[in-house]
Symmetry: C2
Subunit: 279 residues, 2 copies
Amino acid sequence: MRKLGLIAGGGGLPVEIAEHCLRAGRPLFVVRLKGFAGPELAPYAGAEIGIAELGKCIKALKRAGCEAICLVGNVSRPDFSALIPDLRGLAVLPAAIAAARKGDDALLRLMVGEFEKEGFAVEGAHEVMDDLGLPPGPLGRCAPGEEAQADLVRALEVARAIGRLDVGQAAVVCRGLVLAVEAQEGTDAMLARVAELPAALRGRPGAPCGVLAKAPKPIQETRVDLPTIGLATVQAVARAGLAGIAGEAGRLLVLDREAVIAMADELGVFIVGVESGQP
Amino acid sequence: MRKLGLIAGGGGLPVEIAEHCLRAGRPLFVVRLKGFAGPELAPYAGAEIGIAELGKCIKALKRAGCEAICLVGNVSRPDFSALIPDLRGLAVLPAAIAAARKGDDALLRLMVGEFEKEGFAVEGAHEVMDDLGLPPGPLGRCAPGEEAQADLVRALEVARAIGRLDVGQAAVVCRGLVLAVEAQEGTDAMLARVAELPAALRGRPGAPCGVLAKAPKPIQETRVDLPTIGLATVQAVARAGLAGIAGEAGRLLVLDREAVIAMADELGVFIVGVESGQP
């Protein structure tokens, strides 16, 4: 197996991938992005590198003998004026700022392009770790009823549509009404907001109603930024009175899968993978 | 002037319109929607009527001699299972529930159709009171700079696009990035959320950046539900660190205009009307 350079931002996904490589015996080098990567990654062979130190990053990956890279984890959009770029970072900065103006996705595509130019293969998290993607059909014991099915279709439609606008990846629909759409606040904050809406608009624990859908942006660099759910998502969905979660099969990453299934079954939340291209 | 039946939900707009009719000497009858209309409307000739009492509402308007109606003010989507409709309301209820599944706008169009069937002319708030709409160009002393102009164009584009999806009417863009999109939470809650985002993503009071745009849904019944701004909007925009507000000329209602202009000038917030069809 070719050696993987894991370029790690925050959250649980980079840790999960590093553990997977360890188990699978895949050689690994971890670039811990300064200010983002968690301390769980410190024990792995690797280096801590600032997000604008592109030259240092590429040099470290090459010296370590990496042939492929995987960019994962949360990195909030940088304050470009506060960055301390190295020479290579400086060379890319004007293009990065211009790309950032067009949205998150343009910025990610630019970064992927820089690594490809250097000869690295770019692997998506779901390619490194193939049981990470949501399978088609219900993931746990719960499945959507008729009303939830209609909400699921509309929520996926809205999530895809706002993705086309490069706005975000997630939407909540309850009884045909779009309750919330995600932009920069993140899914957890969006779900917390749904829980605060007038009770007549939404479901409640015990009588859940409505669906959270997450879909990748159609123009998205799916090797880098696939939507993700985890334990916190399932809990927040239940707290918001929603009936379930929908995503595109293979294109929604499920972190900590066993625990997620157990929690979803316990809380009565469905998680459904819809085949890409299906409504 | 033909007598106006003002069907009033919550908020400042119905009060402003009632005062306008009083000043202009236009005969008026106010239907105060139970649970929504404010107490300021109680002194006007009128009646308090539940939102599902369509028969009673039509009868009252006809008995009062109204030839036109104007539907204004906030009415949160009803919990249909908790409504107590009269016979006429009951006849419309199945269609109303079906329309509600398709989004807010379908429901409003249905209600407008019911009043038109009864022979009422339906006037938009901006038709009853023609200085209510945002004029083209800057409203106060402030105008957008170059960066804000680019954000303004993108924010209007996103607001229109989410309107086409019948999701909502407002969006916030800062340095090309969509910070927030409005669904059911309302503009004020959306702006409060922007103020909570990481500082690197947004402006701040003193160094404002970013634009709130509000646009009617393209399929929208503009006689009923035009987007609105008021004093609270201007204050929330300043608190969120945004530079200004954009809307379509004639299709964004400005409540309490003199006070709004004074406040915007004081806080350094621009308010710009863009000609419909312009970017």
